[in-house]
């Protein structure tokens, strides 16, 4: 076995082509920016042949050309990815092999996009997303990591080695290094992106890291939203003293430097006191309260249906709640072992709680602002005149009408939570040091960054692409929802 080169045999043609196209495209964009600053206002002109023209002249042509160049660039990169699938092992180079490993993800992505674009007119806001390029790119990036984490986490597909397996002799080796014979049972002949400081496969660790991020970030954001909504709606709707107190508390948490808060909450000494468990017990109650009030406020006049629905929703939630917060090692050991469905490893619970804790005040402020705005609308006054209860108005009149900004913020906030998780990992807080999540691996890699730069780069780029995807997705959603 030879070491892999970056691009393999197809690199000889495609790489210079892609570089050239990219260079011309970037120059075009810069020239266009400079010219655009001095260009006159765009006016629609009618041509003699009866057609309409947006912008003519040199700038207009340049805009067209850069558009085409961008398409060409995308086509070349897609060709690079697709051709690699059909090449025998070793010919496609490192990038080609990486692309091959991601094959399940690619297939899932293609299916999603084909289906969504075909039926986009019937899919509401989600379908409208496919009208905006930015939104589609963002959605693609996000779904790439979603599918990757599903295939890695549930089917153990994409990774090439075990994320914790160390193979001697591969410490800090550069990408494409050959795995020595007889070292690895499920034999994969190369470390695609090289070995890290402890001779583990960087590529495998990167894809396994996506699972941790994809589990914690959206869940933590959902919890933060539950807390923020349950507290923010009454604060905005009732106002007065309740609002003053809650806003003061929210501002208190927001005035804390986030990193100081993490250091104070996540150190092993504090974890030993059980403080995070108590905090978890407090924060995780909010979903129960939220759903309880949501159902009760709507069906309280239909006693039978109300009781049934409440029991159906709250009983499983309560079991989940107690299974989550009760832990044999912690001071909050209140739930019988027989009913304890699962144990969350201590580190993950602490990280989860602190991320929810940091995020919820911001959500609170957003929801409170929206509630303040919407409660002056006529339909709220109509509901009040009908004699609806305050919680019905908050949860069934105000909340659905605040969904647009909340959905956009939800996307942004998942990205922000991912950044926070990375920050925690970067300072070595919370998750165990061998955990493959992106923050911890960046932290591992940065210690030797000036000597071996390659271990820190893949997780950094992975995190960047996910957060960027979420931001672009939010931007696309905002743009499309404003068009309504």
């Amino acid at each position: 076995m030879e070491e892999l080169t970056w691009t393999g045999s197809m690199g000889a043609i495609l790489v210079p082509l892609i570089t050239l196209t990219a260079a011309v495209f970037l120059t075009g964009v810069v020239v266009q920016l400079v010219m655009g600053a001095f260009a006159p206002e765009v006016k629609l002109q009618s041509n003699p042949d009866g057609t309409l023209q947006g912008r003519g002249g040199l700038l207009g042509r340049l805009e067209n050309y850069t558009g085409w160049l961008f398409m060409l660039l995308v086509a070349l990169i897609v060709a690079f990815i697709v051709i690699a699938w059909f090449m025998p092992y070793g010919d496609a180079g490192i990038l080609g092999e990486v692309s091959k490993r991601f094959l399940p993800t690619w297939i899932a992505l293609i299916i999603t996009f084909v289906l969504s674009i075909t039926f986009k007119r019937r899919l509401g806001l989600y379908g409208k997303l496919f009208d905006s390029t930015i939104g589609m790119i963002g959605f693609g990036l996000v779904m790439f990591w979603v599918f990757t984490s599903i295939f890695v986490g549930l089917f153990d597909m994409i990774g090439t080695h075990d994320p914790l397996q160390q193979i001697s002799g591969l410490k800090n080796k550069t990408p494409g290094v050959v795995v020595p014979e007889g070292q690895d049972e499920g034999f994969f002949p190369h470390y695609l992106l090289g070995g890290d400081n402890l001779a583990r496969d960087i590529f495998t660790r990167m894809v396994h890291g996506s699972v941790i991020v994809m589990v914690i970030a959206p869940l933590a954001t959902i919890f933060a939203f539950m807390v923020g909504i349950t507290l923010g709606l009454p604060a905005g709707y009732y106002g007065g003293r309740l609002d003053t107190v809650l806003s003061f508390l929210a501002n208190l948490i927001l005035a804390f430097p986030v990193i100081l808060l993490f250091y104070l909450l996540v150190t092993p000494e504090i974890v030993a006191t059980g403080l995070p468990n108590f905090l978890a017990a407090f924060l995780f109650v909010f979903p129960l309260v939220f759903f309880g009030v949501l159902i009760n406020s709507r069906y309280k006049n239909q006693a039978g249906k109300n009781g049934l629905l409440l029991a159906l929703v709250l009983a499983p939630l309560a079991v989940l709640y107690f299974s989550t917060i009760s832990d044999a090692g912690s001071p909050l050991y209140i739930w019988p072992e027989a009913l304890d469905l699962f144990d969350i490893p201590g580190g993950i619970l602490v990280v989860f709680v602190s991320v929810v804790f940091v995020n919820s005040p911001t959500v609170f402020r957003i929801v409170r602002g929206l509630a303040l705005d919407i409660k002056t609308r006529d339909y709220v006054a109509a509901a009040q005149t009908r004699g609806e209860g305050p919680w019905y108005i908050m949860l069934w009149e105000i909340l659905p009408n605040a969904r647009g900004p909340l959905i956009v913020d939800f996307c942004l906030r998942i990205g922000y939570t991912t950044i926070l998780l990375g920050t925690l990992g970067f300072f070595g807080l919370g998750l165990p040091p061998e955990s493959p999540d992106w923050g911890s691996t960046i932290n591992e890699g940065r210690k030797l960054l000036l000597i071996f730069a390659h271990p820190a780069l893949p997780p950094a780029i992975a995190l960047l692409s996910l957060v960027l995807g979420l931001n672009l997705l939010a931007d696309g959603l905002r743009e499309e929802s404003l068009k309504d």
Binding site: Q32, V42, P257, I442, L450, A453, L457, I461, D475
Partner: protein, 348 residues
């Protein structure tokens, strides 16, 4: 206006008290104190020895008393220890003398002693703040003009190609946290990996002598993350101003486009970014902690990490007082500044 400022100041002081009390409480939880005793004394202390060690140094007093002493509203302890030595808080745990002060807390200007650096907290905080101030100054010099130019250019003509490209650039920059951009920038520009080794990957030497070579990467790393956000806010405010009635009037009068932008729109468009820039300070603090750790620049953020990871109680409190102060003062400035800049808002 005066009443408004007074009320804000009152809330500020209440917030600062609450926050320092929370930090005080968390750092004084028993496991933390035990760790402190073991690192300061020796690691093989038995539980009783830890108890007496902490008792002799005043750590086992009740929490409100300790907080009052730290604040300077209660007299500092004088404890006759079980080992025969008498320790006074106001003599840095030395024997009390004739002119030992009764009160020695923050209010008297005594910030206490750092247990890690073996130095006065006020001394450490002020030198470290000076270093971070230098970093922040250059970050501001890069970030603010850059962000404003991008924002104004993008917001000038909403929906144009320029707008779309610059908006994408600012989205990318807000999506890149400091520890990602820092790692990428170091890998590209400070290691031989890509053959572009133009800058230094550490900023330790920049503490005494900052040059373009060793200071550019940390500055640009912090600036990039904040730049996108400010640019987007500037863009939003610029697009709003450009649709205003008086801009249309100016255009109908035949004023040229550059003139409209510079003379009519810019002044009003820059009110909102002012608030945003002020409110960015707390976020910059975050970035400073990450970047100073990454580039080994021993400033304020680096001190925070050292204090927090070693549970250096008084240094950590000093650091949090300063950072909370920065956050609250910038909030106040942004509120007052907004009222001054925007004649449409009056606070009665």
């Amino acid at each position: 206006m005066g009443l408004f400022i007074l009320r804000r100041l009152g809330v500020m002081i209440l917030t600062a008290l609450c926050l320092t009390f929370i930090v005080f409480w968390l750092t004084n939880l028993y496991p933390n104190l035990e760790k402190l005793a073991k690192t300061q004394g020796n690691f093989r202390m038995s539980d009783e020895q830890v108890q007496t060690y902490l008792g002799n140094r005043g750590y086992t007093q009740s929490l409100p008393v300790k907080y009052g002493q730290w604040l300077g509203v209660l007299p500092g302890y004088v404890i006759e220890g079980t080992d025969g030595e008498t320790r006074a808080r106001c003599e840095a745990n030395g024997a009390p003398t004739e002119d030992t002060a009764t009160f020695c807390g923050i209010l008297q200007g005594e910030w206490g002693q750092s247990t890690v650096f073996k130095d006065d907290v006020s001394e450490i905080v002020s030198t470290r703040l000076g270093l971070t101030g230098k970093l922040m100054f250059w970050v501001m010099m890069v970030m603010v003009p850059g962000a404003l130019i991008i924002g104004v250019l993008a917001g000038m003509r909403e929906g144009s190609r320029t707008d779309r490209s610059l908006s994408t650039v600012s989205i990318v920059s807000t999506a890149t946290p400091e520890y990602v951009s820092g790692v990428i920038l170091i890998a590209v520009f400070a290691t031989p990996l890509f053959g572009m080794q133009y800058f230094k990957g550490t900023a330790t030497s920049a503490m005494d002598d900052a040059t373009f070579n060793n200071f550019f990467l940390p500055v640009i790393t912090i600036a990039l993350y904040g730049m996108g956000y400010i640019a987007r806010m500037t863009r939003a405010s610029m697009t709003e101003v450009m649709t205003a009635q008086y801009i249309r009037t100016a255009r109908l009068k035949g004023v040229s486009f550059p003139n409209i932008v510079i003379k009519h729109a810019l002044r009003n468009a820059l009110i909102a970014p002012f608030t945003v820039i002020m409110l960015q300070f707390p976020w910059l603090l975050n970035g400073v902690v990450i970047v100073e750790t990454l580039f080994n620049y021993k400033g304020f953020g680096w001190t925070l990490v050292q204090a927090a990871s070693n549970n250096d109680i008084e240094l950590l409190l000093g650091v949090s007082v300063v950072s909370v102060f920065v956050v609250l003062v910038t909030q106040l400035i942004s509120d007052i500044g907004y009222v001054f800049l925007n004649p449409r808002i009056r606070i009665s």
